[in-house]
Amino acid sequence: ASLPFEINDIRLEGLQRVEPGIVFRNFPVAAGDELRRNQLSDAVRELFRSGYFADIQAERDGDVLVLKLKERPSVALINIEGNDVIKEEDLLNGLKQSGLQEGDVFRRAALDQISLDLLRVYTSQGRYGANISTDVEPLSGNRVQLNINIQEGQVATIQHINIVGNTVFDDAELKDLFSLKLPNFWSFYTKSDRYAREKLTGDLERLRSWYLDRGYINFNIDSAQVSITPDKQQVYITIGITEGEQYRVRDVSVAGDMVLPADVLQQEVNVAEGEVFSRKTMTANQERLVRLLGDEGYMFANVSPVPEQHDDNTVSVKYFIEPGKRTYVRRINIKGNTRTGDEVIRRELEQMEAGIASSQDIERSKVRLDKTGYFKSVNVETRPVPGTDDQIDLEYSVEEQQSGQFTASVGFSQNDGLILDLGVQQDNFLGSGKKVGFNISNSSTRTEYSFNYLDPYYTVDGVSRGFNVYYRERDYEEDDISSYTADEAGGGVTFGYPIDDYQRLSFSGDVEFIQLNTYDSTAAEVTEFIKEEGDSFLNWKLTAGWSDNRLNRGFFPTRGYAQGASIEMAVPGSDLSYIRAQYNNKWYQPLNDDETWVFSLRGRAGYGDSLGDNNYPFFKHFYAGGLKTVRGFANNSLGPLDSGDPREPGDEGDPFGGNLMLTGSAELIFPVPFFEDKSAWRSLVFLDAGNVYSTDCYSSQANCSADVDLSELRYSVGMGISWLTPIGPLSMSLGMPLNDKENDDTEVFQFALGQTF
């Protein structure tokens, strides 16, 4: 087209499915424009970039600009055959990501790219024999159908791993380090006999670390040759190494800009004279130094250990320290808390805004958030503040979970009228960080109105204050204990505060009013107690508690221990004066690096005794048996029995509890199979032991001996599982009693809502 010429119309030719409006919108020249040289080529290039057309020609017909357009075909159908290892929708997803899905413009480059990616996926799975053929079948209406034919081929297995040049350690010992193994019984599951390059690189790295951690500082892998048989079914791995000499450490020193006193840094890296050099210790020392500097605000500190070899097979290690600038936290953002309030999280953080950044405080804040039990997961990220070299922002992202439990049931019966049983116990009530619980039930068997409230942060330092009040009519027969009922009312105030990062003290004052009532079937012991002490009591109680919690998480801890003790005393002036002390301890020891296998020990002990001339009140007895104490035995069923219903001499009696309790259990926690989201599950096998004793028996009690006979301890073994359901934790256990006696009340399957192992 000779230029410049004035266009008074534009004609489009070759349009099949693309709508003219789209063409004009992407063609910056309109009728009536004065057209100049480069303007036309730019316009055509702009239209081409819209991607709808394979070819565009501009011609002039008088004063009309003619655009000859050849539309690009669009993909109508994608047909994939021969894939069984990789599922269809994964393939379609892969296609979609690289712009090839039904309705898109067809691009040959994308198709070639896909078959190359697919081949790479297959070779990474060890299927070296795979090959992929693609063809494009034109359809009506300028559309195409893509046929992708896949031959996945056999998986090549490793037939031969050989290490040449090892003298100090034999082949078997070294090959043990490898993730790649010759075909063995477990290969169908572990697939460790399939070659993958990343696995080999990892194995070589482990081999190098094995030698470097044992003093062979000059160890070198000369060659790692992978060879495959012509039929591509078998893989051979040959590794040539030179071990070199074993080196010992001559001396260790710290150098560079030491912002901390030299001796503080030095004792972090001290090593016994003449000890074999080990890269693992060197890296561990380096990390400790970096953490030490991080705690002092040098978040971007850099420590580089330099081993210097001497010809007498010794090496001196020098740690060069570059502290970088002291770093400050500008802002702390909290993400993911759709229910929990910002302050409820921020108050747990030991790292302050506008303060020196300390990696210790940042990490410990994460642990404290974990310990609240409000969150399924907590992680923290540090982001440098743009434009500064010494400021960072912190971002704590939490994933909330339902902690506590919620049970509700409403019923109606002629004689009782509306029966309501509503129980709410929330640790993080409406995200306010306050522990609120109330219980309203007015059925014939159970009447209870109770409310408890605790604000863990009454003061900003974590002094907690709470109160509870209750009225309860309890029929002990319901809990399989001796038959009597007690109407109890009372309330109290409790305070608690931290005395260091892990330990807390707590004090509470309560008043309780108890009214016992008996039936003809009430056992002799109860009537005897009432004869001596009367049937209603008003007690003033003081309780002092101590807890020391060093677990790494509130829910499903995997490391650390937690212990606690409490002493409850009815002060003089109460109708009954007694003392009731308890101690419990939990200890977790991870067995592997990612802490999915954990061994844990738990123990509880309780002792009660009377302080005055009155007998120790039987309704303050300890009970054992059930999900919380000794699994496999019915709830509260262990220990001495009462003499049963006086009207039937043969009756064997109901559990009566005792004033001394000893229970404990050893558990092995293992990763729950089959589930993707393992964080919501905990499965374990356990060995429980425990029993309850009475140090002063009632004369009428048959099987109660005053001495504490440890052989009476009951044992059970079994499996338990806990699940964090959306409405709160649920626990189940299958327990097999080992040494149950004839009148023990065993219960193999037990479950409870609102409580985890």
Partner: protein, 308 residues
């Protein structure tokens, strides 16, 4: 498996484009959003460049939004913006993106449980704010600009209140510099929000605690100058009621309006009149539960001990 000749995927009989589009519109009218989504997706697959393809993509965003599928709505909007950057209705895509984040922020809880959203994760609010501000500075005269403007003000207030909550905590914690900086963030970035006077008061008190009286006087001057009737109450420990005053003023204020439907397709000559679907602006009434129980169940107890 496919070796046995394979059954060709049965291609649906080609429903004409026009009918597909009309079915989709009628489904939208009848608020049957999932059916509308199905129709619109089919339309886009079968007629990727047909007359209605761009309009269908717009309607699809709206349908996802009303069908409470924020992720798909945002993805559809992004796809539209990527495919048709200079389309004259692209402002609607930004508007919808802003709306989905906006709705996500006022999560389920705020409507039914007395939880003060401004103390929760501001992430969604920030996204919404960003989408609306892109809309405003790229398409100032868009139909949706006024509504976006109003919502941005609401979001700004919410973000400012969030800053004040954090500042109040740091005052309680006696981390004076942290509190002052939070206050300064509001003064510098979130002007014209009811939280500015509180921010200035916090800055003044914090600097006084630090003994930096000249900085404290600066802040106090600006406070009395611009907000003469603001009663200065100490933020330190004994302070109890600040947070409620700050939140209630905001919450009771202007409620966000119903989101508008996409306007129908402008034809080639833009001058043709576009009738706009009357956005039904009925006021979204406050949830019964939150209004009735507001006093009792609100988690900020009135009594002296709690300083939320």
């Amino acid at each position: 498996c496919s070796g046995l000749g394979g059954d060709k995927e049965v291609v649906a009989p080609d429903v004409p484009e026009q009918q597909l589009y009309d079915d989709a519109l009628s489904a939208l009218q009848a608020d049957n959003y999932s059916l509308a989504i199905e129709k619109l997706q089919l339309l886009e697959a079968r007629y990727p460049f047909g007359r209605y393809s761009e309009q269908a993509q717009l309607e699809l965003i709206y349908a996802y939004f009303r069908n409470y599928e924020p992720e798909s709505a945002r993805a559809a909007a992004d796809r539209f913006i990527r495919l048709h950057p200079n389309h004259d209705n692209v402002d609607y895509a930004y508007y919808l993106k802003g709306l989905t984040a906006f709705e996500e922020d006022r999560s389920f809880f705020e409507k039914y449980l007395p939880i003060d959203v401004s103390q929760r994760d501001p992430g969604a609010a920030l996204d919404s704010f960003e989408s609306f501000s892109t809309l405003l500075n790229r398409y100032p005269q868009s139909e949706y600009a006024p509504d976006a403007q109003k919502r941005m003000q609401y979001l700004k207030n919410r973000l400012a209140t969030h800053e004040i909550h954090v500042a109040a905590y740091y005052m309680k914690r006696e981390a004076w510099v942290a509190a002052a900086n939070r206050g300064r963030y509001v003064v510098e970035n979130l002007q014209e929000t009811p939280a500015v006077p509180d921010a200035l008061a916090i800055m003044a008190e914090a600097y006084t605690e630090l003994g930096m009286h000249d900085l404290a006087n600066n802040a106090r001057e600006v406070l009395t100058l611009n907000y003469p009737d603001y009663r200065v109450r100490p933020f330190k420990k004994e302070r109890a009621t600040l947070t409620q005053a700050a939140t209630f003023g905001l919450l009771g204020g202007e409620e966000p309006a119903e989101p508008a439907r996409p306007i129908p397709l402008a034809d080639r000559q833009r001058a043709e009149a576009r009738e706009r679907a009357a956005a039904d602006e009925q006021q979204e009434e406050r949830s019964l539960f939150s209004r009735m129980t507001f006093g009792v169940f609100d988690d900020e107890e009135q009594d002296e001990d709690s300083t939320r």
